[in-house]
Amino acid sequence: MIRTLTRRALLGAALTVATSLALAPLVTPTAQAADRFITVASTTSTQNSGLFGFILPKFQAATGIEVRVVAVGTGKAIRMAQDGDADVLFVHHRPSEEKFVAEGFGVKRFDVMYNDFVIVGPQADPAGIKGGKDAAAAMKTIADAKAPFASRGDDSGTHKKEKGLWKAAGVDAAAASGTWYRETGSGMGATLNTAVAMNAYALTDRGTWLSFKNRGDLVVVVEGDPRLFNPYGVILVSAKKHPHVKSADGQAFIDWLVSKDGQQAIADFKVGGEQLFTPSAGG
């Protein structure tokens, strides 16, 4: 009995030690994590392309502020910022961004950079649109040919852009959902994986496409339409709506992004020798 009791006490002690060991790092921040940090709600395109991994260390070295990026679709990112779960919003759908500021959730929108969207599709090109410059006409041809098209279907910036193009093409793609038009309801990378597996066409931002590693048979088939322009904007979340927002550090990040150093860092980011984003602040 006594032996059992001692053993129980020992086990109890061991459990306590193990638990506190496991808990300790959760409550006290780790040594590497900076005390000063801001949370940025951004899009999968900026994260997956590797841009943040390239420019954020430069910003942290300059200011000591750590930037924590939560990369989701533009729709979700805006929702996060509206709820006050981010200090800065960094997305790519201008009408939504302007609405965000107009409704008082954001302080001011700054131009940061742009790239463009491209339509990718199978090498064999069943719809015969390769080399075209008119995105809407190309999408009309895809619809007429009933060639498979993989859509984000997730209310992201890219999805919003795609819906705009279908409208311009006069095609009711949503009505064909489940047939040749396939909504994946997931991020850009996941949608490209699906498109590769189905040999489907898809609309993607060039940054994600250039850094995407599982291209399979897909190639860029349509590019260069002015309608495929893809500007990114950055907005500080308003402290009037959410008093806990780290306005000073958040604004410091925005100031840096649009500064000479920040713009240079964006221009310096290359994948396979190709520049992915063109800085556009103040322009």
Binding site: T19, Q32, V70
Partner: protein
């Protein structure tokens, strides 16, 4: 097929280059899941035992409910925890969203029912066997809870391991409440999801191989400890 070969290569490279990001991700994964398991065990084991021993109205409904909760969808748990911890939610002032603690809470909610439900079954079977004996010693259900938990400790270990398995393997909940922030809330499963979305399937599968290996290692360690303890008990 090339992907599988490349995946094993990626896994080996990852492990050889240990001091890189992998060590940080692995240790955060273990810390979060082990903490969640420890708390879930402290809550779930007595809960399961109590449900096995005490008789009260509505007990059967509670048992069915607990069994059903074993199948809680991680995405739903993640979403509920997200809405609670969001600045716009009731616990928003704590500022816990996108922290490892939020991920621990979500996992804890996921696995406490698993541990409790499995513990209830184990203890109930044992109680059927020993009820008479324990009652003849004058031990009521209250004291029987501790006695049976101790007697069943080796079987209960499997319940706890089932909880650990669920915690370390799930991605839906931690992705939503953690946000997969590099160096802050990125764990094994969310890294795998991220690499898949980047189209780097070989690296994703390589990470998967590391995760499975890790899970085997944890289970082997527990098995060895249990085996040694059982032998000592017999000796």
């Amino acid at each position: 097929m090339t992907d599988f070969g490349a995946a094993f290569q990626a896994a080996i490279t990852l492990v050889l280059d240990w001091e890189g990001d992998l060590a940080e991700i692995v240790s955060l994964s273990l810390r979060i899941s082990l903490t969640a398991v420890a708390v879930a065990a402290v809550v779930g084991l007595p809960l399961g035992a109590a449900l096995a021993l005490f008789r009260f109205p509505g007990r059967k409904i509670l048992v069915v409910l607990l069994n059903a909760l074993m199948g809680l969808p991680p995405v739903v748990v993640g979403l509920v925890v997200y809405l609670m911890l969001s600045r716009a939610g009731p616990l928003g002032v704590l500022g816990l969203l996108f922290t490892p603690l939020a991920m621990t809470i979500a996992q804890m909610i996921l696995i406490t029912p698993i541990i409790a439900a499995l513990a209830r079954q184990v203890i109930e079977d044992l109680w059927d066997e020993y009820a008479e004996q324990l009652q003849s010693f004058g031990a009521g259900p209250g004291r029987a809870v501790t006695a049976l938990l101790w007697d069943a400790r080796f079987s209960l270990l499997t319940a706890v391991l089932a909880g650990f398995g669920r915690a370390s393997a799930e991605v839906g909940a931690v992705m939503i409440v953690g946000g997969n922030i590099d160096h802050v809330t990125r764990v094994m499963t969310t890294s795998i999801a991220l690499e898949v979305s980047k189209g780097d399937l070989a690296l994703a599968l390589g990470l998967g191989i590391v995760l499975v290996t890790l899970s085997v290692a944890v289970n082997a360690a527990v098995y060895l400890v249990k085996d040694a303890a059982q032998k000592r008990q017999l000796a």
